[in-house]
Assembly symmetry: C2
Homo-oligomer: 374 residues x 2
């Protein structure tokens, strides 16, 4: 059994209220407030705007707290999330995704652009042209940010094509706001974070140079991800788009993106079986914890109340925990908190978050954009 990391052994999950029907997702509001304030302060110090990614919390409730703390607007991944935020009165939304706007999606895009300050991503000439077709004749259109690939190899054009994409944006009658990237290769491990942050800055800087040389105005240069957000807030970067920092999770703590002692989200689970020696089984499986597991971490989350234990496998409704040899086995019926590997899919799997302060339940919050994934 591969060991947990040093960081794993320091993770602190929020205290659980009593009497929970498990599995349940518990969020400590004091820790959320601390996380929100800390990221805002760090970016304020650097003179860089914060536009938090709402795909982590999928909730106008938390977006409003981020905006109150000083965020300039909200980032989302899909139009469905943007619609939920707009319905709740949030006025400034960036869809950081190469939206391909046809059919119902084009209708939704036009409707949304008519009622909030909207921006969307593009990463190709074809995408810009399609946006233009989708918005032809609309009273208001979104502004556009061009996505650059800074080393993740996912979406984003390379810097050599950014001027061609910008020309297509202009030819389509759209307004260019700026450029953005996501140094997602930071998630390949703690030794990749600093390099990914540098890649974000250098890629955006090169694109900015080329665009300005070609006569384009670039008002926003946007980088992002929780692990790279502070490190890349320098040079040409004017805006950061971290998401997971609001709650933190095990992966972020190991990447340096979250303080391991202020993780704000945990999955409460009941020990339902100790029938197999050396193991226990929790009732939070893949339909509660999700299955995100970086290669560089052992297991599917950490259970601080079971020191040294590794969540060896998750099935739809079971997590199989291998217990450390030197710790007492839990009893059937014990309730424990699991720090998930990745908070975002966990929130997308639950209909409600149980909001707490000092271990007491204060509110059951419906996850309004849960399942809004298109």
């Amino acid at each position: 059994m591969e060991p947990l990391t040093h960081i794993d052994r320091t993770l602190s999950a929020p205290a659980l209220p009593g009497g929970l029907d498990t599995p349940a997702v518990v969020v400590d509001l004091d820790r959320v407030d601390a996380n929100v304030a800390r990221m805002q302060a760090r970016l304020d110090e650097r003179g860089v705007s914060l536009r938090p990614h709402a795909k982590t919390h999928k909730s106008p409730f938390f977006a409003a707290r981020q905006l109150d703390a000083g965020a300039v607007g909200i980032t989302v991944a899909v139009l469905g999330e943007a619609q939920v935020m707009a319905d709740a009165g949030i006025q400034d939304v960036f869809v950081a995704y190469p939206v391909w706007a046809v059919g119902a999606k084009a209708d939704r895009l036009r409707e949304l652009a008519g009622r909030v300050r909207l921006a969307v991503g593009v990463d190709s000439v074809e995408g810009a042209r399609q946006l233009g077709r989708a918005l032809a004749g609309a009273a208001a259109g979104p502004e556009v940010l061009i996505e650059l690939d800074s080393g993740e190899g996912r979406t984003g054009t390379d810097a050599t094509r950014v001027v061609a994409v910008a020309r297509a944006v202009a030819d389509a009658g759209l307004t260019l706001r700026g450029v953005f990237t996501h140094g997602g290769h930071a998630y390949q491990g703690p030794d990749r974070v600093a390099g990914a942050a540098e890649d974000e800055g250098s890629t955006l800087g090169a694109a900015l140079h080329d665009l300005r040389d070609a006569g384009f105005e670039v008002r926003v240069v946007s980088a992002g991800s929780t692990p790279t957000a502070v490190a890349s807030a320098a040079g040409p970067v004017t805006e950061e788009r971290p998401g997971t920092y609001v709650f933190g999770d095990r992966q972020q703590a190991n990447l340096g993106g979250s303080d391991p002692t202020t993780l704000a989200l945990t999955v409460a689970a009941t020990v339902v079986s100790t029938a197999v020696p050396g193991r226990c089984v929790l009732d939070a499986g893949a339909k509660a914890l999700a299955k995100d597991k970086p290669d560089w971490l052992a297991g599917h989350g950490v259970v601080p109340m079971l020191p040294g234990a590794v969540i060896r496998a998750v099935y739809d409704h079971h997590a199989v925990v291998e217990l450390a040899e030197d710790t007492p086995a839990p009893r059937v019926g014990d309730v424990v908190g699991v720090v998930p590997n990745h908070a975002c899919p966990v929130v997308n799997l639950t209909d409600e978050l149980l909001l707490t302060r000092d271990g007491e339940l204060v509110e059951r919050l419906p996850v309004l954009a849960r399942g809004r994934n298109r």
Copy 2:
């Protein structure tokens, strides 16, 4: 890039209706009907009852079709699924899980036992005692099946303790219906399926022998999982509980549990980026496809319209597809169907299934038990 399997290359996804807003989950009803009829016929031939697991479809709509075809009742994993099935008029439900009934869960259990023919699992003396406490004074209680571990190492007592658990069930004033197991080690690869099916039968046979020797009546001997369902329908087994067979998926096709040519569920996705050479990116990410990936399969699903392509990575809202060298690259805006590795979490992630016949949309079905995971 590791290759796809021979089976992967034969997978056939349902035809997609036009004009989809993606990602969207499409289900071919004719293929569902064929899958339901085929499993029922195979078990009928063997004189073994079918009690399909509803965690795959989470929908009374499909449960009703399975019952109409001859199933004796429905299996679920959690009380929340059982409640949805009961609300829809389904009268016979087995919660194949070691339910730990305290607080709200105990209340829900009592309520449910009062209105349908209910059975639940236990795998420990403590679990049986807790069930007894939870049901004390209730007008009606569920029957109990004792779970056995047949080699998966997840939940289930071993055969040496089954009589002790049965005595605790009786002492708690509960009625024993029988024993059950899940040969989940079949999912470790195609070479494990036959052995897991044998393990199910031999484990249940040993438990049955010991229980009868100790004077217990055992009416139901239940095995289950889609890959082992037909092979273990022999000897002492009276009931099978496969779930995924209703739709099939890539994993099942590779395990021999589904016909690769009649897979009934696919995730429609749009190509949103071709910016990185040799790759394309789809808008169905982990929040649509889930992240279930057996070690013995390459990638996160198969795209029959992109022969030889491997879904190398999935992020919340992106699937990164490495294209085969000898095939034409898709264009941004193309819509493709993805055969997911595992159908169950896909259904749990979507609010609706698009039901089709002959590639035409016939109904949008809400997934009534989606998110009912406790």
